[in-house]
């Protein structure tokens, strides 16, 4: 029952985290920052604009992207199969890419191309994380992971490679080339306006919950360790966001695959000796 309530309010929790993050980012830059509930003010304002629509496929793909992402996080809360969840997440990213290709706008196509390249960069690492959990537990089931002890000591390099991917998923520097605001005017988001942009904005909030629940997986049984890990990842990602510049898309793929994939493979190879 509690789980069903949590699933229904996932965007609201994600919105509060997103708003809080803007405040933390502003304080790090010696500014004050917007109010914490700012994402919800943005949402109400976007609902009140004149709707612009190009074609219906564009909107439907964006809607599918958000709904499938919501379902993906709901599946994590209900404790289902981890590998299956990663593939459902891949499906929602593919919907976003298709939304970008469904209009005849150059910036949209560029954004979709870059989004596909980032999928090539981070997807192997997510799968290797699932395999790491499988080698120790014998099953991909998330409820087993939550029932046993914390595996952070056995899977520490995998945790580091997850922290490497977090800036890509949350669209932060140095890995935010896929929706680069100043270069390609937002990438896939360029042709969305009003209530349709609200759909993508809300999907961004749900993505926060998805990533932080993957971080929670490494804490296993203890909730306190999960919160400590989440706060650590939150602060590190914001610090890196404020202090680095954006890397080019080809360098993004090379850096993430070189560092992340090698760390993850070393961990999997080391697990065979445990």
């Amino acid at each position: 029952m509690l789980q069903v309530l949590f699933i229904l309010f996932i965007p609201i929790f994600g919105g509060v985290i997103y708003g809080f993050e803007r405040v933390v980012k502003a304080r790090m830059q010696n500014r004050v920052g917007p109010p914490i509930l700012q994402p919800f003010y943005d949402m109400y304002k976007l609902l009140d604009k004149q709707p612009f629509m190009i074609n219906s496929y564009h909107i439907v793909f964006a809607l599918l992207h958000m709904v499938v992402l919501w379902i993906c996080v709901a599946m994590i809360v209900l404790g289902m199969d981890l590998l299956y969840i990663i593939f459902i997440h891949l499906l929602s990213s593919i919907f976003l890419v298709l939304a970008g290709y469904s209009v005849r706008s150059v910036y949209s196509h560029l954004g979709s191309n870059r989004e596909l390249l980032t999928i090539v960069a981070y997807e192997p690492i997510l799968i290797l994380i699932a395999i790491g959990f499988y080698i120790i537990n014998g099953t991909f089931d998330i409820s087993t992971i939550w029932g046993s002890d914390s595996l952070i000591l056995y899977l520490f390099p995998l945790f580091l490679s997850l922290v490497l991917i977090v800036p890509i998923k949350l669209k932060k520097s140095p890995f935010d080339a896929a929706s680069a605001h100043q270069e390609i005017v937002g990438g896939v988001e360029v042709e969305f306006s009003g209530v349709f942009f609200e759909i993508l904005y809300m999907a961004k909030w749900i993505e926060y919950i998805f990533i932080y629940s993957l971080v929670f997986l490494f804490a296993g049984d203890s909730l306190i360790l999960g919160f400590i890990l989440s706060i650590f990842v939150f602060l590190v990602v914001n610090l890196v966001d404020n202090s680095t510049a954006r890397v080019k898309i080809e360098h993004l793929v090379k850096i993430v695959l070189a560092i992340g994939l090698i760390l993850a493979t070393l961990n999997i190879w080391g697990l065979s000796y445990v």
Partner: protein, 174 residues
């Protein structure tokens, strides 16, 4: 029901366009977003995308080639929207009034709501102007607003309003 209009002034998103300016007023606008005069505490985001903005900040006297672009950008902003003319050049042409290469100010092409004087303006004036523009924005309706010159009419196909390619192309010898 739920009053959505009060939220318009809580999250104004800005599009900043330079219509031939000397960049002085542009630098002052960017200074508003820096830590000293922090505009982001009002929820202001500088988006580069006209489809996601409410406030259109224009600097510069309108040069020949930027006339079509101003009209095109203005029609791509969804209603309700406000236009703020930043700097003397955008208001009346500034020091270049009457010259052969500029149109005197942007209010020959698009309807302007707030004029901010100064050459170059200061960030305090820009913040005052944006706050005044938010008060104007709160009273606006979602009726489609048209530019004043150089535009084609929007078409109505099957009850859906189409607004594409709204700026009339200007020939070079006119």
């Amino acid at each position: 029901m739920f009053n959505f209009k009060q939220y318009r002034k809580k999250s104004p998103w800005i599009l900043h366009y330079n219509a031939g300016s000397c960049n002085g007023c542009d630098i002052e606008i960017l200074a508003c977003l820096s830590p000293k005069y922090d505009l982001e505490r009002f929820g202001v985001i500088n988006t580069g995308n006209p489809k996601q903005t409410d406030i259109f900040l224009v600097t510069g006297p309108v040069t020949f080639r930027s006339r079509e672009r101003i009209v095109e950008l203005y029609t791509q902003i969804p209603e309700p929207k406000v236009v703020v003319a930043v700097g003397s050049c955008a208001c009346t042409g500034g020091v270049f009034r009457g010259m052969y290469n500029v149109e005197d100010g942007i209010d020959r092409y698009i309807p302007v709501d707030v004029y901010i004087p100064g050459c170059a303006t200061t960030p305090e004036l820009i913040i005052d102007g944006v706050v005044k523009a938010l008060e104007v924005l709160e009273d606006k309706t979602k009726k489609i607003e048209r530019p004043l010159k150089l535009f084609k009419n929007e078409e109505l196909k099957d009850g859906v309003v189409h607004r594409e390619n709204m700026a009339k192309r200007v020939e070079d010898d006119k």
